[in-house]
């Protein structure tokens, strides 16, 4: 069985931008190990010369003229923001 370790949890959580405590990492390492084993079943399928299916239907570009249009109201948008000032979103210090 492929083991998904607590180190793996922290490694992939870093990309996913989710904080896990060491205790949570233990729990999730078991859960993800099961899923990895589950996914291993795909290895037995012969997919030589098979094209990957990225989308269920043929896709078309949707284009429009580059004409300015009404956009969503800034005040309405900012109503969903936790902190803002002078029409800009506030976040903690970056530097």
């Amino acid at each position: 069985m492929t083991k998904f370790t607590t180190e793996d949890v922290h490694y992939f959580a870093n990309f996913a931008k989710i904080a896990f405590s060491d205790q949570e990492a233990e729990v999730f390492s078991e859960i993800i190990s099961d899923l990895v084993e589950f996914g291993d079943a795909l290895k037995e399928v012969d997919t030589d010369n098979i094209e990957p299916m990225t989308h269920p239907l043929q896709m078309f570009n949707v284009l429009r003229e580059d004409v300015p249009q009404d956009v969503l109201d800034r005040d309405e948008m900012l109503a969903s923001v936790k902190e803002h000032e002078d029409g800009m979103i506030k976040v903690p210090n970056i530097l």
Binding site: K17, L42, P52, M53, H55, P56, V62, V91, P92, N93
Partner: protein, 488 residues
């Protein structure tokens, strides 16, 4: 006697003859919700004030301006955005999120004259198959309150089954309209991918998600799909394919149709009582003049791992937008920008969502991308080819919707892999992008059994034709749960 158990045609006749007003119909829906939802827990938010205002406006509107579903109440799954009404995806992450626009499907039901009464519970971000994974409440099955309603559109199915609303919208990524419809004994359609705009549907897995109607009868379902279908310039994946009038497909005639039954759908893992009801349903379809033939979908057994690799990969990407900055939950414990992201997401998402994001991130990582994600996309091709091969010689595919009837709350959730195995009956349809419906086909120990009818791309009309013919030949859709305190 509640108005909520009448069909669209019956309600519209009453409205047309002015025997009831839209306001009375709307009030009746809220009366049912007040009486029953304490037990069912289908709704997360009610919009009574807005609904009654709209009902009055509709009552005062001219005959000519009335839409095709004039005056009929509807509930909306809480991952479909509604302007001015909180839309949570049943997640702490969006607990206070009030969208600034309506989803296209919501605009369309509004234009059709429907009255939205509120938002319906679901598994968080549509990830689950029991509606136990909502951050706010567990929805109960109206047929047995100790059982799950299925998921993730469990609120949408339970509200219709309980008679709180005659119509609801759900979403189906791996079976999330059809499976709860089956477990709650109502009609749920997953349309062809692209048939209904996904604009305003909070994305889980973009190449699989599709909005679908849930109703008590096939005719009502066809009417609601009529209303919400069609190309939308705001969704590049919506299809320009012409939308036929689905109601006109309800002829009752299925003579000469060739029905395929995959042997994998009546094999190991499917409960005997479910198999019995499905086999009896096949006899009904045969008696109506259709021919039945066993076929094989050889890659079915790989559908669940394929689905989980693709759906979680897409979810890990889609859910990156929930970062605590522009909307949604922001942690109070963050000291710097990085911690705003990591702690907001840690505190805002539930376990199931974190699990899928983590596995999806793994599937997309440089080391595992080829062996898992690309491999799954190739197996997806084979699964779609299996269906295409069967449809060369058959009109529709029929089988069970769910491997079992509804199970006890808390009972199966512990064994996640059992739930994944159950998905084999529904997820293949999403991977191939084809349409499928679930309709009631019997009861076992007082719990409904669902029959699934699967069709070719954009062949919803034929699916409705078969479903309607079966419905007219049986009485299962006429049974309703007897919840004690309602106005049944």
């Amino acid at each position: 006697m509640t108005l909520m158990k009448k069909t669209a045609a019956e309600l519209q006749a009453l409205l047309h003859n002015r025997e009831v007003s839209v306001k009375e119909v709307t009030e009746d829906s809220f009366k049912q919700i007040a009486a029953l939802d304490g037990q069912v827990k289908a709704f997360l938010a009610l919009t009574e004030e807005e609904a009654l205002a709209k009902a009055e406006a509709l009552d005062n509107s001219s005959q000519e301006s009335r839409g095709p579903l004039f005056g009929l109440p509807i509930g909306i799954k809480d991952n479909i955005v509604t302007k001015g009404t909180v839309t949570t995806c049943a997640s702490k992450m969006l607990e206070n999120f009030v969208p600034v626009y309506n989803a296209t499907a919501v605009e369309k039901v509004n234009e059709a004259g429907m009255v939205s009464v509120g938002k319906l519970n679901m598994d968080e971000f549509a990830m689950g198959s029991t509606t136990e994974r909502s951050a706010f409440q567990t929805t109960h099955n109206p047929w047995n309150l100790d059982c799950v309603p299925g998921g993730s559109s469990g609120g949408s199915a339970a509200a219709v089954a309980a008679g709180e609303v005659p119509f609801s919208l759900g979403t189906d990524t791996g079976g999330s309209v059809r499976q709860p419809a089956a477990l709650c004994g109502v009609v749920g359609m997953k349309p062809t991918y692209g048939r209904v705009s996904r604009n305003g549907l909070i994305a889980f897995a973009s190449s699989l998600d599709q909005i679908g109607p849930i109703t008590r009868t096939v005719e009502d379902n066809a009417l609601l799909l009529n209303a919400i279908s069609g190309v939308d310039h705001r969704d590049s994946s919506s299809s320009p394919q012409q939308v036929p009038d689905f109601k006109s497909a309800l002829t009752g005639d299925i003579k000469g149709l060739r029905i395929a039954v995959p042997k994998e759908y009546l094999g190991e893992g499917i409960a005997d009582d479910v198999k019995d009801k499905v086999r009896a349903s096949l006899k009904v379809l045969e008696s109506l003049g259709a021919s039945i033939e066993e076929v094989t979908l050889p890659h079915s057994k790989y559908a669940s791992p394929t689905y989980y690799a693709i759906a979680t990969a897409e979810a890990s990407s889609n859910l990156a937008r929930f970062d605590g900055i522009r909307y949604g939950y922001r942690s109070e414990n963050a000291g710097n920008l990085e911690e705003v992201y990591t702690r907001s997401r840690a505190e805002g998402f539930g376990t199931e969502v974190k699990k899928r994001i983590l596995y999806g991130t793994y599937a997309l990582s440089a080391d595992h991308h080829e062996e898992l994600y690309v491999k799954a996309m190739k197996v997806r091709t084979l699964i779609a080819q299996d269906f295409a091969s069967v449809f060369e010689n058959h009109d529709v595919i029929v089988g069970p919707t769910s491997a079992t009837t509804a199970y006890e709350i808390g009972g199966v959730a512990q064994n996640q892999l059992t739930l994944y195995a159950n998905d084999i009956l529904t997820v293949s349809v999403n991977l191939a992008g084809i349409p499928a419906i679930s309709i009631p086909c019997g009861f076992s120990n007082g719990l409904p059994v669902g029959l699934q009818i699967i069709g070719k791309h954009f062949d919803e009309a034929l699916i409705y034709r078969v479903a309607h013919a079966f419905e007219q030949a049986t009485d299962f859709h006429k049974s309703t749960p007897s919840l004690g305190e309602g106005t049944n």
